[in-house]
């Protein structure tokens, strides 16, 4: 396992360099983490994290196997998976009047445009994202023929900014291994405003 992890890190580092992105991993210790002043989230486990475009990615075993993606305060007009979508082509983007269903369409379309397939909604229900009314959803998708399952927690705040947390893991093993942790983290989100941090 240790050897595999090392291999994964090498790939990621090389990828980061070739892709021209500055993916530098930082350790996220167990505890409560402030998410750019928008909300706080508690993690019972440690993660490795990096930022790419308008998303923050956390992973334990490497993004090949599972990843937790945070979109924080996405403005209307912004696109998801920005750096992965084809240039010059019509791409879906966030609109302020979107409802939960529209946002899920946006997520699944963005994944498909970025190269995954069979992105399908499996469950959707209302919940809270901290103190914001939000939605919780489950979905399936396939990347390079490998089946993944996903969980999402989303909300639109009073200023029409989109907040989205997406978790994706391989259907075999990794998704279920961390599902309980992810659900706990979703429930731990505290979005009560703290003006001094915004």
């Amino acid at each position: 396992m240790k050897r595999y992890m090392a291999h994964t890190w090498v790939i990621l580092e090389v990828l980061a360099g070739i892709a021209g992105c500055s993916a530098h991993y930082a350790l996220v210790q167990p505890g409560t983490r402030d998410m750019d002043g928008f909300y706080r989230i508690h993690t019972p486990v440690a993660w490795s994290a990096y930022t790419q475009d308008n998303m923050e990615v956390w992973t334990i075993n490497g993004p090949l196997l599972e990843r937790l993606v945070f979109y924080k305060g996405v403005q209307p007009g912004a696109i998801l998976l920005q750096d992965l979508l084809p240039v010059g082509q019509e791409v879906p983007y966030y609109k302020a009047n979107m409802r939960a269903h529209d946002i899920i369409d946006l997520v699944l379309e963005s994944y498909e445009m970025a190269g995954s397939t069979h992105a399908t909604l499996q469950a959707l229900h209302p919940t809270s994202f901290g103190h914001w009314p939000g939605f919780h959803f489950e979905f399936d998708l396939s990347i390079d023929g490998l089946a993944y399952k996903g969980l999402g927690l989303g909300a639109i705040d009073e200023e029409h900014l989109l907040h989205l947390i997406l978790y994706i893991g391989t259907r075999e093993h990794y998704f279920n291994q961390h599902r309980e942790v992810i659900e706990y983290m979703f429930s731990s989100v505290d979005s009560r405003s703290e003006p001094e941090t915004r």
Binding site: I18, R67, L85, P86, V87, Q89, N97
Partner: protein, 420 residues
Amino acid sequence: VSACLRSIGVTLLAFIVIACATTVNEESKPEEPLSPVSDKEADLWLAMDRAERDLVLSGQLVDDPALQQYVRRVGCRIAPDYCDGIRIYVVEQPDFNASMAPNGAMTVWSGLLLRCENEAQLATVLGHEIAHYQRRHSLQMWHNRHMANNIIQVPSRTMSVLLNMLSIIHAPYSPHDATWKAGIRDALRIHRTGAAVTGGVETLRTLGQLSLFPLFERNQEREADRIGFERMVSAYYDPTEAAKIWEGLLVEKEAVGSKDPLIFFATHPPSEERFQTLRMMADDGKFAGNERGTERFVKVTAPHRGKWLEAEFKRGHYARVQVLLNRLIVRGEKPAELYYYQGELYRRRGEKGDAERAVHAYEKALNYNETPVEAYRNLALVQWTLDHTAEARSAFQRYLALAPEAVDRTMVQSYIEQLQ
């Protein structure tokens, strides 16, 4: 996983080779299956065979044995002399494309079937691809480009990566223009998604290799058109359908402009002259057959059409879907489904005036009994954005009444409460 991806990738690369051609003077004799004629080719064959096996197991094939069998039968009908040597696979992939590897494995994208009106048009495209195979165009190209070692060494790829790489190769119309470079950039971006799964170092190297592939030359296209045409009319298909499939693609190409180029045209440059030639061949000749096979074709493809349209949406092909829907609506097949997807097009695109257009389309769809129940929910979502709260609430309630076990039931209930 890595090993699996690697072998699939090799196959896909092998399929890419198909798209390249040079003029060959000696036509292979009918009933003579193509086979490797050198050690180098034998290596390529082995790699392609392995990749083909992986493709079959990749989950990318359309899961419908009747459809797969149907397309294979059409292939055998137009090329009985090669029936034992070719294998045709229909893969779930939006966009119009078909390609044939030198070992006889042909992939037909579901987006191609979505754009064909009948069996005769499908036979035209299959005949065109088989002509490239028959003339060993891609093998000749492969030799010319000294790609043997590189192809064999290509590491892990999967079906989607192959398809993405195809999009790199096919998207531009010339490797020297800005669109080509933009295509490469786009592909690199796309691969960074896959990179999270497959690793991207080899991808970049492969991209460099693949960018060496040129477009088909006009002479090869003419030759493939001629042979394909001869094959389809020999099988008693309506010769006038040969030009129609390409004409339909030209309309689509013109509608979307250079923003979202059709993959197939990148290696099969379209020209008015080619279509005129096909028309003339149809007009001038005396042919025994006039079969279109529309009923058979629609019967096997119609169950998949909604899913294939959805796949085009998910790739952001809004303009193309609009052209396709307009064409399909004129034909009058399954109007409920077509108006529903027209509503989906407008709802998802969300440009000015699209909400009203979406309402209009959904309401048209709901005049038919077989409309997907989601039409009510999505109509309600659009009505809500227009502040038509009573109409939105009513449509949500209708949706829940018709789909009491829907996976989003509690979410829709919460919408209704908000609309009270």
